[in-house]
């Protein structure tokens, strides 16, 4: 049993570590091609992120949104569904949370207002996720195509709403919300002063815990993973595959939508057009690197947030885009190293067993 556990741990940890190593080597080459010292650049990158409270606060803030979108994508993948629509689900969630915050009176108690705003966010993302779920079940329309197309539709609709109805003149954002704001971390830990880190990170961690419980400890989760692994066997086991698809995409969308509160309620206190800024798409990479496990997703979210924030810190020496290249390398390395490293591990074990 313990050796089995060790094997599972090895299989979970080795591939991403190998991928990270490959990415670091590629990064070395890139940095050297700019005539800079890799060790210095990496040191700067770490100092600018985990090395000081402000940088770390920014990492927390960025990781929060990525945790939500990463969880959203990974829940879908567990059911065999590829939700590429986290971007628009995130935006829709933020939008509805903002609307709720605007509609509520400041007299509403904070906890109630926050709960209502969060429900609105989940609802916004959930509806955008339910559409591809319904179309898949009813017409067999592939969720990848539908979610990609919905990204365009939903983002354009939101842009139109803001630009024509709700914006503060000269800007593309709504007026400040009256209720439902989430306090920043610097209220309690002054060192975070100036950073956007806020208590949404707790919601992200709770969501990850809930997702883990749902996936691995409930009957619905058992059925969901069965559908993802072998839909025919799930059907044989009395699972309504279409129902699982619909529910999963809806929940996936709701999780992504909930991520919208990080910016809208926690950071700016208004909805701004384009706030998602690619976090939904990066969520796909987060899910991939996190191996679709809630714990892995949280770690991967922090990793990508570090890269993103660190890019600003090393800007003076190498172009910020280098970090984006590095992100791409990590994603490719993980995609390639997972099956390879797994095979190598299994091969290494074989003689020991025989």
């Amino acid at each position: 049993m313990t050796s089995r556990f060790r094997e599972q741990l090895e299989e979970a940890l080795f591939p991403p570590l190998v991928a990270l190593l490959v990415a670091l080597i590629c990064g070395d080459l890139l940095i050297m091609s700019y005539g800079q010292s890799p060790s210095m650049v990496y040191r700067l990158l770490l100092e600018g992120t985990w090395g000081n409270a402000y940088g770390f606060g920014q990492v927390i803030y960025k990781a929060t949104t990525l945790a939500f979108t990463g969880l959203a994508v990974s829940v879908g993948i567990r059911a065999g569904l590829f939700n590429v629509g986290a971007e628009s689900q995130l935006a829709a969630g933020g939008f509805l949370a903002g609307l709720m915050g605007l509609a509520l009176s400041p007299a509403v108690p904070g906890a109630v207002a926050l709960a209502l705003c969060m429900i609105a966010a989940a609802l916004g993302g959930g509806v955008v996720g339910a559409v591809p779920g319904y179309l898949r079940v009813r017409f067999g329309a592939h969720e990848v195509i539908v979610t990609i197309m919905l990204n365009f539709i939903v983002l354009a609709l939101l842009n139109w709403f803001i630009a024509n109805h709700l914006h503060v003149p000269e800007t593309l954002h709504t007026p400040e919300i009256h209720a439902g704001a989430i306090p920043r971390l610097d209220r309690f830990i002054p060192a975070f002063h100036g950073s956007a880190a806020n208590f949404t990170i707790l919601a992200a961690l709770l969501t990850a815990a809930a997702a883990w419980f749902w996936l691995f400890r409930t009957r619905r989760g058992y059925e969901l993973r069965a559908v993802g692994l072998q839909p025919d066997a799930a059907e044989y086991g009395g699972v309504t595959v279409g129902g699982v698809w619909f529910r999963t995409l809806t929940v996936s969308g709701a999780i992504a939508g909930l991520g919208g509160i990080n910016y809208v309620l926690g950071y700016k206190h208004y909805y701004e057009d384009g706030f998602a800024g690619g976090s939904g798409f990066l969520g796909i990479a987060v899910a991939l690197v996190g191996r679709n496990h809630p714990v892995g997703v949280i770690l991967a979210a922090f990793f990508f947030a570090t890269l993103s924030q660190g890019g600003l810190a090393i800007h003076a020496f190498v172009p910020k885009q280098m970090v984006e290249v590095l992100q791409g390398v990590v994603i490719l390395a993980v995609a390639m190293s997972v099956p390879e490293v797994r095979r190598a591990l299994q091969q290494a074990r074989k003689p020991a067993r025989a």
Binding site: R219, Y222, A226, L229, Q230, D232, A233, Y236, T240
Partner: protein
């Protein structure tokens, strides 16, 4: 051609001569020293049950596969291991069971595809049409050259497929079960065309397992069984019964692992059925006029009616692909039935879903454990839960204590090895995987058990074990519907045997009266009684 008195045809100058062909797929030996001799200008039938190795042999001839041993000669030239292009150049045309046509292109475009007539660098459609029309007239294969393939009937599409090979200069035509998708008049038309092609000097190899077709059309016959070539016969000098015996094999019991058990049970079967005589109570499983349609609206299960009493095993024999899979899936709720009625102990489950049927007392050992029966990446414990997940959760949360308890109990009582509940099903041997499925389906109470190929790909020890369990289920008054490709298994276990042929029961008889020879004739359609 002087050997008319001898019913073993001795070819003079074979146009195709395959000798000692071996082909392995992992541990499966699809061909074992198979041979084939075909004369120029004859219609040669290659017959045998599904899995006898006919298609593999033809794929080797067509260059789609290379043999592991043996030689292939065409026109006296050694061409062993050639490519598909070589084969086409040498005039071999394959007409596959599944059409390889582009549905959005017209008939003429499909036929000339790969050899298009060209005028000043552009595709010359008018010439394509005229060439196709000319070929069509010459061969008598009438096709609408201007129509899109997607608008054609199956028979028309098949003619297009044949024309396509002829357009590329095929002199030797290989047809893989060409009548499987055709209606009787279309079959007649095809016969006319094939005879005309032969009379014009073509050579035709027809893969089939239908003896009426063989007798009707062929000049010579090669019979294959279990990867080996059994006999080469002259059609005019043989009888369907002789071919049937060669196909099914008189000695099949000696070759199968349960051979001995069959010998013993063959005699004890009457006692067994007497001890479990059908009683007056309502049947455990009652199927009435069940119709299931497949692709193209063919009736794959064509109005079947039967009942199984508690404490009875009804065995279904038959060549695979005669509707057994669809019948089982329809009863299990995995496939919609068009009409008819299914009852478990009098309770109508026709419109119930899989979970409701389970709750009504249905257990199901599916024919393909890797596709349906197991979730290979789930642990043994989790696999022992599949379909029972409702019973093992409280308010939606899985009850891990009871799940672990259940796993421990089932692993012990069904002797699943290695006995480690956390191991993924993928890591088990085939026999132990099947034991997991059987433990799950038979480890809880059930009224009716559907057992589909319960011992497929399982080692001898596990087969014995599984047979014991099925007999124990009968002794415990369960009703068992057993489908097996192994005739000997059906005979060894069943109280009554039904033979399924083209979606119907060709015959239902007490196992005590059934012999392999008699069932064999029903299996390949040379005999049919009143459809049950």
């Amino acid at each position: 051609m002087t050997a008319a008195a001898d019913n073993t045809a001795k070819p003079a100058h074979p146009i195709i001569h395959m000798k000692g062909i071996d082909k392995f797929f992992g541990p499966v030996r699809a061909n074992r020293g198979a041979s084939l001799e075909v004369l120029s200008g004859e219609i040669h039938a290659l017959v045998g049950e599904n899995g006898a190795g006919k298609s593999t042999l033809m794929r080797i001839l067509g260059g789609l596969m290379k043999p592991d041993a043996g030689t292939v000669e065409v026109n006296g030239r050694d061409v062993t291991g050639w490519s598909t292009n070589d084969a086409i150049d040498a005039g071999i045309g394959m007409v596959h069971q599944h059409f390889m046509l582009v549905p959005t292109l017209t008939v003429a475009e499909n036929i000339v595809l790969g050899k298009e007539p060209v005028k000043s660098g552009m595709f010359d459609y008018a010439r394509a049409v005229s060439e196709v029309m000319a070929l069509s007239k010459e061969t008598g294969l009438t096709v609408p050259a201007d129509r899109k393939v997607s608008e054609l009937s199956v028979g028309e599409a098949q003619r297009v497929e044949i024309l396509k090979t002829l357009f590329r200069g095929a002199k030797i035509l290989v047809l893989d079960e060409p009548t499987a998708v055709l209606s009787p008049p279309e079959v007649k038309e095809l016969w006319t065309v094939l005879r005309r092609l032969r009379d014009a000097g073509g050579t035709i190899i027809l893969i089939t397992h239908r003896l009426d077709e063989v007798m009707d059309l062929s000049d010579t016959i090669t019979v294959m069984r279990a990867g080996e070539t059994i006999e080469r016969l002259r059609t005019s000098a043989t009888t369907p019964a002789e071919i049937a015996r060669a196909m099914v094999g008189r000695d099949v019991t000696l070759m199968s692992p349960q051979g001995e058990a069959l010998g013993m049970l063959g005699h004890s079967a009457p006692d067994a059925s007497a001890g479990h005589a059908p009683n007056d109570f309502s049947a455990a499983l009652e199927v009435t006029d069940l119709v299931v349609t497949g692709s193209r609206n063919t009736r794959v299960v064509d109005g079947i009616t039967f009942a199984i009493q508690p404490g009875e095993i009804l065995g279904i024999a038959g060549v695979e692909g005669n509707g057994q899979t669809e019948l089982i899936e329809a009863i299990a709720g995995l496939r919609k039935s068009v009409s008819g009625n299914i009852r478990i102990a009098g309770y109508d489950i026709t419109d119930k879903d899989v979970a409701e049927r389970r709750a009504a007392g249905l257990a199901h050992i599916p024919e393909d454990r890797h596709r349906r029966g197991l979730i290979l990446d789930y642990s043994i414990a989790d696999n022992l839960l599949l379909g029972l997940q409702n019973d093992y959760s409280r308010r939606g949360v899985l009850d891990s204590e009871r799940i672990a308890e259940n796993a421990e109990k089932q692993i012990e009582s069904f002797d699943i090895r290695p006995p480690s509940a956390a191991l993924p099903a993928r890591a088990l041997s085939g026999g132990n995987q099947q034991k997991v499925v059987i433990a799950r389906e038979m480890g809880h109470g059930f009224t009716v058990l559907l057992a589909s190929q319960p011992t497929r790909g399982v080692d001898v020890g596990a087969i014995e074990f599984i047979h014991e369990r099925l007999r124990a289920a009968r002794a415990a008054d369960a009703a068992v519907l057993l489908v097996s490709a192994e005739l000997s298994e059906v005979l060894a276990l069943a109280d009554r045997v039904a033979v399924m042929y083209r979606g119907r029961f060709a015959v239902v008889m007490p196992a005590a009266e059934a012999t392999e020879e008699a069932l064999g004739e029903y299996m390949i359609g040379t005999r049919t009684d009143t459809a049950a």
